[in-house]
């Protein structure tokens, strides 16, 4: 599972989806998680980085991560399977 290649993510938290023309905004935590996700990091790797840098426990992170991924899926930004 990864972010669709065409989705553009800026450092300031602005997302543009050229296929629909929709744009989105992210809060700073979301920018950090999405940047790591875009780099191809797994949930486990992302969790390690976040737990090191933020005042948060593992379970709260996992719940937030699940919810965030659900939203990316809802906005059709994820590739569930590798593109051929």
């Amino acid at each position: 599972m990864k972010l669709k290649k065409k989705i553009a993510v800026s450092e300031t938290g602005f997302i543009f989806d050229p296929t629909t023309g929709d744009s989105f905004s992210l809060n700073p935590t979301a920018v950090e998680i999405l940047t790591l996700f875009k780099e191809g990091k797994t949930e486990k790797e992302i969790k390690k980085v976040i737990l090191e840098n933020y005042n948060i426990d593992e379970s709260t992170f996992e719940r937030s991560y699940l919810d965030f991924m659900a939203m990316l899926r809802l906005y059709n930004m994820l590739e569930e399977h590798e593109e051929k």
Partner: protein
């Protein structure tokens, strides 16, 4: 290195072409304290949910209302509407600011007496006064506001066996040019019913007609409607003077001033649209002063303002129980405050503010209460910063009606705390316990044992 504060990651779709045409602020600050007492400290000490009343705000609002009226009219008297909030501590703040008591049942009447209000400073309103209630009120010299002919004839009947003369006012309903017209309280002005009642009282010779009363509605956004009511009552008073050579001592315009809450479906927030006390005072005072009443006999103006005096002083503190994502992508936040504790959420879009720092990012959310019922919705649509389980929220302007119309359901009703003017918190009504709920229940003997 100190770790950064974690905020739940959110992604929000940007809606272009939909600017806020009123330029209203979409960002706001957290409420971290009430009159100097930290919210987190209140919740840690007294639990969540928690009602908090600011004594300072009640006093300031009272003085503001008093100033607006007493600078425009020479004789003004406020009477605290017990049904709006009859916590004894709250009533006593109003009484210490000079308010009389306005009660609508025998229970409230006894409460006012127990609070130390002299019987001669109690106005007894409402359609439900038993013969026993009326007898008590007559004996102690309280003002009885007669609602219907059955009540009037009960009083006439009582005069036959009592030596005290009842002091009464009649309740008058009328068309004030607003919709809906409340016609259920008292006698109608336009069809002559009010005169029927006045004539019967005056001709009985055993009852003192001292006042005229009206209660034109609730959350009235048009001050002119009060001006119309004042004019019609003043016309009645002047006509009574002419016909019976009898001076009416007071005109009571009841309650109904709007608080700054926003009604559901309103286009603009209540804080921008609700009239000020000055606007209401201007309409009422001008009508009375310009009326036919002889200036030497100007009646006292009595006001039974409830909601507008107490709403701002009440806060309901709560905690986020859970967040869940609805199938359509909308965030649902579940808090520990249900509609049973916030009755007014059925008609207001209450302001909800987080009690901790947050960024300027917000999400559209629906706020559910904890009751296992579909109607338990505190806000259907609200923009809130991301919150997580355990975070605290504050619901503002809840001082009116919620502490008298609350329901015990599924769980127990919480503490009510008052923060005094020196920033000290006092419990003014303790939380319920399983014992206090069960003590009035009785199980018939044959149902005490069973096998499963």
């Amino acid at each position: 290195m100190e770790k950064k504060r974690f905020e739940r990651p959110i992604i929000k779709k940007l809606q272009t072409g939909m600017p806020n045409k009123f330029g209203m602020k979409t960002e706001y600050d957290p409420i971290t304290e009430i009159d100097g007492v930290p919210v987190k400290e209140l919740i840690a000490k007294y639990g969540s949910p928690l009602y908090v009343i600011s004594e300072k705000t009640i006093r300031e609002t009272c003085r503001e209302a008093n100033r607006a009226f007493s600078t425009r009219y020479p004789k003004v008297q406020f009477a605290w509407s017990y049904k709006t909030n009859y916590m004894n501590a709250v009533c006593n703040v109003f009484h210490s600011e000079g308010s009389w008591a306005e009660v609508v049942s025998g229970f409230e009447y006894d409460k006012a007496i127990a609070n130390g209000v002299p019987a001669s400073k109690i106005l007894f309103n409402g359609p439900d006064k038993s013969e026993k209630d009326l007898e008590k009120a007559i004996k102690h010299g309280s003002y009885i506001h007669i609602d219907h002919f059955d009540e009037l004839y009960t009083i006439i009947g009582l005069t036959a066996k009592m030596k005290e003369r009842p002091k009464v006012a009649i309740r008058v309903n009328m068309d004030c040019g607003i919709y809906p017209m409340w016609s259920r309280f008292g006698f109608n002005y336009e069809n002559g019913e009010a005169w029927e009642a006045i004539n019967r009282i005056m001709l009985s010779k055993k009852i003192d007609l001292v006042g005229l009363h009206s209660h034109i509605g609730t959350y009235i956004l048009a001050p002119y409607a009060y001006g119309t009511a004042a004019t019609k009552l003043a016309d009645l008073a002047a006509a009574i003077d002419k016909k019976y050579n009898h001076h009416i001592k007071y005109i009571d315009l009841g309650g109904g001033f709007a608080s700054k809450n926003t009604l559901k479906g309103a286009y603009l927030p209540g804080s921008d649209t609700c009239p000020t006390f000055d606007q209401y005072a201007d309409a009422i005072s001008s009508a009375l002063i310009n009326s036919q009443i002889n200036h030497e006999h100007l009646p006292v103006l009595i006001l039974e303002t409830g909601r507008a005096l107490i709403d701002d002083a009440g806060f309901l503190l709560g905690t986020v129980l859970a967040n869940k994502r609805l199938p359509e992508g909308k965030l649902a936040t579940i808090i520990d405050i249900g509609v049973n504790l916030l009755f007014t959420s059925f008609w207001y879009d209450h302001k909800i503010t987080p009690a901790q720092q947050f960024s300027h990012h917000t999400e559209d959310a629906i706020i559910y209460g904890p009751l296992c019922m579909n109607i338990d919705i505190i806000r259907e649509n609200v923009q809130l910063p991301p919150m997580k389980k355990g975070d605290n929220i504050i619901i503002s302007r809840i001082g009116a009606y919620n502490m008298t119309q609350w329901m015990q359901f599924i769980t127990l009703r919480p503490n009510i705390v008052m923060v005094d003017t020196k920033g000290k918190a006092h419990v003014i009504r303790g939380n319920e316990t399983a014992i206090s709920i069960n003590e009035n229940e009785k199980v018939p003997e044959h149902l005490t044992k069973f096998e499963l």
